[in-house]
C-alpha cells in the first residue's frame, strides 16, 4: 500500500516523495549530527569517563582501606593471642612454683617433725633411763637391807658381821642379775 501510494504520489508530481531527500534536509541533519557528536565526544563522554575513573578509584581506595583495617585487626588478634598464651604460661609457672614451694614446706615440716619426735623420744628415753637407774640404785639398796632383815629374822641371828652380810648381799645380787640376764623377757614383764 505504501509503495503504491508513493508511486501515485510520484506520478502526481506535485507531492513530495518521502524517500528523496531535500538538500536543506541533509544539510541541517548533518549539522545536528555534528553538533551532537562533538558535544558527546569532547564534553559529555569525557566527563562521564572522568567520573567513572574517580568512582573506581574510590572503590579501590575503600578496598585498600578495608584491607588495611583487616590487617590491623589480624595483628591485634595475634598480639592478643600471644599475650594470652604468655599469661597462661606465666600462670602455669606460678602454679608450678607454688606446688614446689608447698612440697618443700611440707617436706621441711615433716623433717622438723621427725627431728622433734626424735628429740622427744631421746629425751624420754634419757629420762626413763635415769629413772630406771635411780630405781635400780634405790632397789639395790633397799633390797639388800630388806633381804638382810628378812634373812636375819629367818635364821634368828643378826648378821652383825658386816663383812659376812655384805658378801651375802653381793652374792645374792649377783645371782639376781645372773638370773635376770638368763631370762631378759622377765624384765619386760
Amino acid at each position: 500500500m505504501l509503495h503504491a501510494s508513493l508511486v501515485a504520489a510520484a506520478a502526481e508530481g506535485e507531492t513530495h516523495n518521502p524517500v528523496i531527500p531535500e538538500l536543506y534536509d541533509i544539510v541541517w541533519s548533518a549539522v545536528c549530527f555534528a553538533v551532537i557528536l562533538i558535544a558527546f565526544w569532547r564534553v559529555f563522554l569525557p566527563r562521564l569517563q572522568k567520573m567513572l575513573d574517580e568512582r573506581s578509584a574510590a572503590i579501590e581506595g575503600n578496598i585498600a582501606k578495608a584491607d588495611e583495617a583487616q590487617r590491623q585487626a589480624e595483628a591485634a588478634l595475634e598480639q592478643y593471642t600471644a599475650q594470652l598464651a604468655e599469661a597462661r604460661q606465666e600462670a602455669a609457672a606460678i602454679r608450678e612454683g607454688a606446688r614446689e614451694d608447698g612440697k618443700k614446706i611440707i617436706a621441711e615440716a615433716r623433717e622438723q617433725a621427725v627431728v622433734e619426735a626424735q628429740r622427744v623420744t631421746v629425751g624420754a628415753q634419757a629420762q626413763i633411763e635415769a629413772e630406771r637407774q635411780a630405781a635400780v640404785v634405790t632397789l639395790r639398796r633397799d633390797v639388800g637391807t630388806l633381804a638382810l632383815d628378812l634373812a636375819g629374822n629367818v635364821i634368828g641371828e643378826t648378821l652383825a658381821d658386816d663383812a659376812k652380810a655384805s658378801a651375802l648381799v653381793d652374792r645374792f645380787l649377783a645371782d639376781l642379775e645372773a638370773s635376770e640376764k638368763a631370762s631378759p623377757s622377765a624384765r619386760n614383764n
Binding site: 500500500m1 505504501l2 501510494s5 508513493l6 501515485a8 504520489a9 502526481e12 507531492t15 513530495h16 518521502p18 524517500v19 528523496i20 531527500p21 531535500e22 538538500l23 536543506y24 534536509d25 541533509i26 544539510v27 541541517w28 541533519s29 548533518a30 545536528c32 549530527f33 553538533v35 551532537i36 557528536l37 558535544a39 558527546f40 565526544w41 564534553v43 559529555f44 563522554l45 566527563r47 562521564l48 572522568k50 567520573m51 574517580e54 568512582r55 574510590a58
Partner: protein, 305 residues
C-alpha cells in the same frame, strides 16, 4: 537476504491500520463509509475529494512550508525547527546531567548514567569489547540519543512530529554507520574484512558465483538502505496513525455528532494507546539503529565469522 522482507516487517503496521479502517467502514453508515474509504485510499496522497469536515493525513504533513531562507540549502521549515529544539533539549539535558558528576550519584545523574550506560555497556562494550567499544562510543552514543530525542518529539504536544520522520536524519545517520563500519573493517584488516564480507568461509567454491553478489548487495547496499527506511517509515507511519486517530476523533465528535460521538470516543482511545506505543517505538528504533550499527562494526572487525 531480502530488503523487501525486512521492510515488510517494519511497515506492516500500515496494513494493520488498513484492516482496522476497512472493518470500521463496513460497520457504519454510508456517509462515514465514504469518508473512511476515501481515507483508506488516500492515506498518503492528498484527498482529492476532501469533504470539508475531515482532514485526511497526507505525505505533505512532512513537507511544511519554509519559514526562513526559502530556496537555499539552509531552508528552515517547521520540522527543522523541531529538530533544533530536540538538539537543544539533548544538549541541555546532558550539559546539566554531566556538569557536576559525583562519585555517589543523585537521582538525575543516575538517570543520565543509566542512559549513557545503556549505550556504553549494553551496546558498545558487549558487542565490540572494551577497546573497540571506546573507540566507537562517541558515534554510537550520538546516534542513539539523536534518534531518541528526535523520535520522541513525535508525541510531545505542540511539536507533534518526529524529527526523524523526514529522510535527512535517518539517511545521514545511516551514512555515518556505513562509513563507520567500512572504516573499522579497513583499519582493522582490509583483506580479512572484504574476504569475510564477500567470501564467507565454509561455502563451496563454486557457490561464490551466487553468494558473493548477494553478500555484496546485502552488506554494502542494503545495510544503509534498511537502516534509513526502517527508521523513516516507522516514524512516518506512526505520525500518520496519530494524525488519523485524532483527526477522526475531531470529525466524529464535532462534525458527525449524534451516535458517532461513540466512535469518536473509540478513536480517541486508540489515539491514546498509539501515543504510548509511539514512545515504545521511539526508544526501540533508537536502540535498534544503534545496535545494528554496532553489529556491523563488530562484523567488520571480527577476524572470522
Amino acid at each position: 537476504m531480502s530488503g523487501r522482507c525486512r521492510l515488510g516487517l517494519f511497515s506492516n503496521r500500515a496494513g494493520v491500520f488498513r484492516t482496522f479502517v476497512v472493518a470500521r467502514a463496513e460497520l457504519h453508515a454510508p456517509k462515514q463509509e465514504i469518508a473512511l474509504k476515501a481515507l483508506a485510499v488516500n492515506l498518503l496522497v492528498q484527498a482529492a475529494t476532501d469533504d470539508g469536515g475531515f482532514h485526511a493525513p497526507s505525505i505533505d504533513e512532512f513537507f511544511p512550508g519554509a519559514l526562513f531562507f526559502e530556496g537555499t540549502p539552509f531552508e528552515i521549515n517547521r520540522i527543522m525547527l523541531v529538530r533544533f529544539i530536540a538538539v537543544a533539549a539533548l544538549l541541555i539535558v546532558f550539559y546539566l546531567g554531566t556538569r557536576r558528576m559525583k562519585v555517589v550519584p543523585g537521582r538525575f545523574q543516575s538517570i543520565i548514567e543509566m542512559g549513557l550506560g545503556l549505550v556504553r555497556n549494553n551496546i558498545a562494550f558487549d558487542l565490540l569489547g572494551e577497546k573497540d567499544g571506546k573507540r566507537f562510543l562517541p558515534i554510537l552514543t550520538t546516534i542513539f540519543f539523536m534518534v531518541l530525542f528526535m523520535n520522541i518529539t513525535g508525541i510531545i504536544p505542540l511539536l507533534n512530529i518526529a524529527g526523524t520522520s523526514v529522510i535527512g536524519v535517518p539517511l545521514v545517520l545511516a551514512v555515518v554507520a556505513y562509513v563507520a563500519f567500512i572504516y573499522a573493517g579497513i583499519r582493522n584488516n582490509a583483506g580479512a574484512f572484504f574476504k569475510n564480507a564477500l567470501f564467507p568461509p565454509g561455502v563451496p567454491k563454486f557457490l561464490y558465483i551466487i553468494v558473493t553478489p548477494i553478500e555484496f548487495v546485502s552488506a554494502f547496499v542494503l545495510r544503509p538502505v534498511t537502516l534509513t527506511l526502517r527508521l523513516l517509515m516507522n516514524m512516518v507511519v506512526g505520525h500518520l496513525l496519530l494524525v488519523l486517530f485524532f483527526s477522526a476523533t475531531q470529525f466524529f465528535l464535532f462534525t458527525a455528532g449524534g451516535w458517532y460521538t461513540l466512535f469518536g470516543v473509540g478513536t480517541l482511545a486508540f489515539g491514546f494507546v498509539f501515543t504510548l506505543f509511539e514512545i515504545l517505538v521511539a526508544v526501540l528504533q533508537a536502540y535498534v539503529f544503534t545496535l545494528l550499527t554496532a553489529v556491523y562494526i563488530q562484523l567488520a572487525v571480527a577476524e572470522e565469522h
